[in-house]
């Protein structure tokens, strides 16, 4: 057996960032597509919600003035974006951190920003893919056609929503070190945000809770979807949603970057 684990005398030059980033992206995409949990959270769950809303609620929307196919698709996308970030992304980062995957990557010449950006980029691409699939399936199930403009705005809203939930997930892994605690907190947060956003925006719990709900991530997201699918009636609720989303992105990213530790110890 010939031993190829040999060191050459000349020192290695710093590798090109393109090659580094390409290698990280390729690996992160492979990991993502090999994870059944990710595929389930990103595609199967939103489609299930689309079907469920159709059969159970008869297309009655929660957000004011927002109903029918638009509401069903918006809600399915919100579910998908939130679950893939809060449960999928945060847990995969926390687990890899605990296993020492990041430490192994950090001793290479790969810049830390490239390691994390690659992960986030892959997640955003997946969110986009999910958006396209959900919109296609949604329009078929609900027999609804959107204009090109509406579709583009829907995609833009999904990118912003995906960024918001990723920022929240990043803040979660920044503040919590243990993977099992990240998993537990992520799930609890998921339920709380979902209930607050949905029940609150429906107005069933009173006007105060509805006002609060408009500022929650789920409430803000649904209001923005409602706004982009009915631009003619874009109002203060949708604007509030947009402001809230921007705030969550900035605050979540700040906490997630400031307090993130590459090592779980």
């Amino acid at each position: 057996m010939t031993d190829s684990t040999a060191i050459a005398t000349p020192g290695s030059a710093r590798p090109a960032i393109g090659l580094i980033f390409g290698s990280l992206l390729r690996a992160d995409f492979t990991v993502l597509f090999r994870s059944s949990r990710t595929l389930l959270l990103n595609v199967a769950l939103p489609i299930f919600i689309l079907v469920l809303i159709d059969t159970r609620t008869g297309n009655k929307g929660g957000a004011a003035g927002f109903s029918g196919a638009g509401f069903a698709i918006g809600l399915a996308l919100t579910y998908g974006l939130m679950s893939s970030s809060l449960i999928g992304y945060s847990l995969s980062v926390a687990r890899d951190r605990e296993a020492g995957v990041f430490q192994r990557l950090r001793v290479t010449p790969a810049p830390t920003w490239a390691i994390m950006t690659s992960r986030l980029l892959v997640q955003i691409v997946l969110d986009l893919l999910m958006t396209v699939i959900v919109v296609i399936v949604g329009t078929i199930i609900h027999n609804q056609n959107f204009t090109v403009g509406e579709l583009l705005l829907l995609v833009c809203a999904s990118i912003a929503g995906g960024a918001m939930f990723l920022a929240i997930a990043q803040a979660l892994v920044g503040l919590v070190r243990s993977a099992s605690v990240v998993n537990a907190v992520g799930r609890v947060l998921y339920v709380i945000l979902l209930l607050l956003g949905l029940l609150g925006s429906s107005g069933l719990l009173g006007i105060t809770v509805k006002d609060i709900s408009d500022w929650t991530p789920v409430g803000a997201m649904i209001n923005v979807y409602a706004g982009v699918l009915d631009l003619a009636h874009w109002g203060s609720t949708a604007t509030t949603g947009l402001i809230a989303m921007a705030a969550y992105i900035v605050i979540g990213a700040f906490i997630g970057i400031r307090w993130f530790r590459w090592d779980s110890r």
Binding site: M1, A6, I7, T9, S12, P15, R26, R34, T108, P109
Partner: protein, 265 residues
């Protein structure tokens, strides 16, 4: 200079220059003014009980922790000033190497080759893997390999870019005697090929078998540096050493004499 290092052509130029290194975690000082040099073509062993500061010293050299004081230069490059260029010259095998669990061996090798700027074809990767006897395991995941196989793959990845300095953190921990001997041979081969190696170990047998020079570290301080034989000669009459010796003075007697007999956690 030892006979082994003379044969291997150890040069006088330091490939690693650590000056007055201090590493603190909060109030605790893990590495306290450590200075050491590793010459080209030299195998240098860092010995110390648990918690002595071996891994912290290595982490500072690898750029995983920011030193509170002192400097680290790899091949003349300051790790603080140009960490990525310094890292490109280092090959690292961490104590517990962990790779993304969803990736197959072949994909792991491709990822790390890319991170070090080494472009490899599928065939080249397979050839490399074959040299460490894992050609039948290309599609397997890292966790499914035995300890010895994992060790061989980790070493292959650590030297995939032909680094000028290889850092091995307890490379033979948990290996059976056959795998340990095989690894020693590989380490010797790496030096013969012109590489320099810094390894940490608990094993006196390993230090004597493969290291040209050995440093003993405890409570973050470097206690002594010399060849294994030189250390024995230097401390032969030290009362702390003679007190713990059982017959002929060994490197282990010197180690226990200098670091104490109490068990460390």
């Amino acid at each position: 200079m030892t006979e082994k290092s003379k044969q291997a052509g150890v040069g006088a130029t330091p490939i690693l220059d650590v000056r007055d290194l201090v590493v603190r975690y909060g109030q605790r000082t893990a590495v306290d003014n450590v200075s050491l040099e590793i010459r080209r073509g030299e195998i240098f062993g860092l010995l110390g009980p648990n918690g002595a500061g071996k891994t912290s010293t290595l982490s500072a050299i690898e750029g995983l922790v920011k030193p509170s004081g002192g400097t680290v230069s790899v091949d003349g490059i300051d790790i603080q000033r140009d960490p990525l260029a310094a890292k490109a010259r280092l090959g690292v095998q961490l104590q517990a190497s962990s790779f993304q669990s969803e990736l197959a061996i072949e994909q792991i090798v491709r990822l790390y080759a890319g991170l070090y700027g080494v472009s490899m074809t599928k065939q080249q990767i397979a050839d490399r893997i074959r040299t460490i006897g894992l050609d039948g395991e290309l599609g397997k995941r890292f966790k499914s390999l035995s300890g010895g196989q994992q060790q061989r793959l980790s070493l292959l990845i650590a030297v995939i870019h032909e680094p000028v300095l290889l850092l091995l953190d307890e490379p033979t921990a948990g290996l059976d005697p056959q795998s340990r001997r095989q690894l020693w041979d590989r380490i010797e081969n790496l030096r013969t090929a012109g590489g320099s190696i810094l390894l940490t170990t608990h094993s006196m047998e390993e230090a004597e078998a493969v290291c040209d020079r050995v440093a003993i570290i405890d409570h973050g301080k470097l206690l002594t540096v010399d060849t294994p034989a030189g250390l024995i000669a230097q401390h032969r009459n030290d009362p702390r050493v003679t007190k713990v010796a059982r017959g002929k003075i060994t490197l282990e007697d010197v180690f226990i004499g200098l670091t104490g007999s109490e068990i460390r956690d």
